[in-house]
Symmetry: none
Subunit: 224 residues, 4 copies
Amino acid sequence: MGRSKRSKSAKVRRKPVQARSVRRYEKIIDVAALMFAEHGFEATTMEGIAAVAETSIGSLYQFFPNKREVFRAVAERCIERSAQAFAELFSEAEEDETVDPPAGADEPQWARMIDDAVEVFSRLHGQEPSFQAVLANVQLYEDYAEADEAMLRSFVGVIEGLIERWAPALPRPRRHVVAIMLVQTTTMILVASTRETPEIARDMLLELRVMLRRYLAPYVREAM
Amino acid sequence: MGRSKRSKSAKVRRKPVQARSVRRYEKIIDVAALMFAEHGFEATTMEGIAAVAETSIGSLYQFFPNKREVFRAVAERCIERSAQAFAELFSEAEEDETVDPPAGADEPQWARMIDDAVEVFSRLHGQEPSFQAVLANVQLYEDYAEADEAMLRSFVGVIEGLIERWAPALPRPRRHVVAIMLVQTTTMILVASTRETPEIARDMLLELRVMLRRYLAPYVREAM
Amino acid sequence: MGRSKRSKSAKVRRKPVQARSVRRYEKIIDVAALMFAEHGFEATTMEGIAAVAETSIGSLYQFFPNKREVFRAVAERCIERSAQAFAELFSEAEEDETVDPPAGADEPQWARMIDDAVEVFSRLHGQEPSFQAVLANVQLYEDYAEADEAMLRSFVGVIEGLIERWAPALPRPRRHVVAIMLVQTTTMILVASTRETPEIARDMLLELRVMLRRYLAPYVREAM
Amino acid sequence: MGRSKRSKSAKVRRKPVQARSVRRYEKIIDVAALMFAEHGFEATTMEGIAAVAETSIGSLYQFFPNKREVFRAVAERCIERSAQAFAELFSEAEEDETVDPPAGADEPQWARMIDDAVEVFSRLHGQEPSFQAVLANVQLYEDYAEADEAMLRSFVGVIEGLIERWAPALPRPRRHVVAIMLVQTTTMILVASTRETPEIARDMLLELRVMLRRYLAPYVREAM
DNA sequence: TATGAATGAGACTTCATTCAT
DNA sequence: GATGAATGAAGTCTCATTCAT
């Protein structure tokens, strides 16, 4: 959100414009996302991507100058999709706010929104390979931090916006940290949950909501 | 010449006994931990480890049959050091309990213990490269999950023990999930904090304590 | 970088179709045959093959997934060439039979055929590096028996056919053993002869014919 | 036979004299023979030899300057044992000659001697690992031809002696070639037989005798 | 533009041999 | 002399990237 799509040049060698090219470009990213998510960055080979995307290695390199840029494109795709999902969440929230005043709901609106946010992350994680790809390859190392960073920053930006609405009294820097906490906790618990049995994974998601609510409740209350 | 048949792989090929060997063995693990933490498993090369450890590639392979085993050794080292650190935490806690009844402390004992636990993790993370190495290489992919898994399981075990003391009413399965939440949240926030500025990193640790307290407080209260 | 997972090994990785590729593929086999024959399987290195074949190690591995397969290809080439040579022998024999009845020949036809067969083997051995390569690497050891086995079996099959014509009374199992004797004796004497001086080598070939005739004569006579 | 034991210096680093050393030296050769025979020269490692011989790699190198010399020693051992076996054959033969004149035996003496010679080779092959070791590693390649050569030459010498007795009319150079034929055929058939089923292997040995008799018979007859 | 063959740096691993204790 | 730790050259194989067609 509020983040330009692509600024540095030479990242994408040939910006696809023709319909066929666009399709091919999209397919590469789809395939790459799946493979990065499934096998990791290192174990995913350019040849493999090309093969599964039913393209040639040569064409692959016509779209992307190197492997890293493929990953970056996947991350970008992830940001787009996430932004979209969050945008929907926002708009729904606004509707709720106007249409449905917090009457006799036994749950405060902000709490429901946490659930919604977790739900959005969860759905992204479950359905958007690029999301898994990026999260599964969060690495601090040298280079490809960049791409993940971008994605996480974008999440943080969104969440900061939400917090601002619920807890406007929270000073800006604090708000930033809280947003980071929320995003990191949520994404990492999602990732970690895939390493557990389905039952435990489900319970972890439930606990995640509990945790986030308890964490945020005082901040929201203060705000009132 | 070259390779041939045979590869029994006795896990640790030569168990170091002489002082010099032990030093070398330890140094390899130290160096490997640092490099795995810094650059990741894949980007760390055996040749690199040997060079930094000021030994030869041949010696390296006399201690470890392959790179995976080096990592496993690092993970083992990490588990040992962690267990040690937690053992100290436990023993201190017991002293506290007996020596110093919760007199005029404006903080309940369990809360202080959370701080202590976070402190332990934090210290491990800051001072024990093997800890960073393992955490930074948590991967879902096929093979090298093993080592991390072992470590995280061991943490979860420890924390479950603590929770049992604070919130004995919490049913066992729930307790397990809560322990996972605590461990995952703590470790991942620690890792994530290294990607931020020092100030934000510090604030994140503070918020982590806040979050964990707020999360656990109701469980502890229920228990009373 | 380095190696990772994955090693499907499709035996022949890239089946050469274009003229240039075919040339390269053929050259690799030629060179490999020469080197295997000259230095043996173990002492022949992939890098060496690539260098002499004036290609890169990478290209070599695009054709063959490993050294064993290079050898297998050499063996296959050898079988082909041998089959071809024997086919010619057979067809000539048939012509002889029809065109030229054993009129005033002072040598029985089967004896001439032995000479011809030895001649074929001899020519193969002298001119077909793949033949030498395979024979020189007949080994009992575990793995690379396979390729030689195949070749020797194919020879035995051919020879069994010849014997059947000369000595149809010889029971089938005996015939098999006799064929093995002929093939082994002939090939091994050929190989052994290269370790002697040219004169002795020549004499060995002469003696080989003598030996084979004397050995077979009674079987053929019985058959009449 | 008639071949000095060891001439070139520096082949054996330390000639063992003390009883313990001799035992160790012998054991190394035994073990090496077994391993060369079983796995081949290349696949047999110095460390492996040392381990199985219950010695240290250091001691191994005190007896032999390098792997090749170990093989050479095995070959030498083989020659010794073979010479011994043939010496027995000779002496028996002489006894036969004097004690038992070729009276009503339905088999000429020379034919029985062929059987005996084959029997000697066969027993060596079955019971003397060094024999198998050398035969299984007959290679033309560069270096280690030497050792096998020596052994085969020594066999040829012995057999030439026998032929001289049976067929004294055969001119010397011819005799040499015939001896080579006999030795090569016998040894190679023995080796080849191990690649077949036991039944076929047995039949091959029978056929070998048939072949050698038929081959030699005319030479012997001529001689009379 | 699309293709895929070609390249070669570089990773892992083995093992003959040396050398310090 | 005996031991076995240390060494490093050399070999196999992978895969990102280039380039000719």
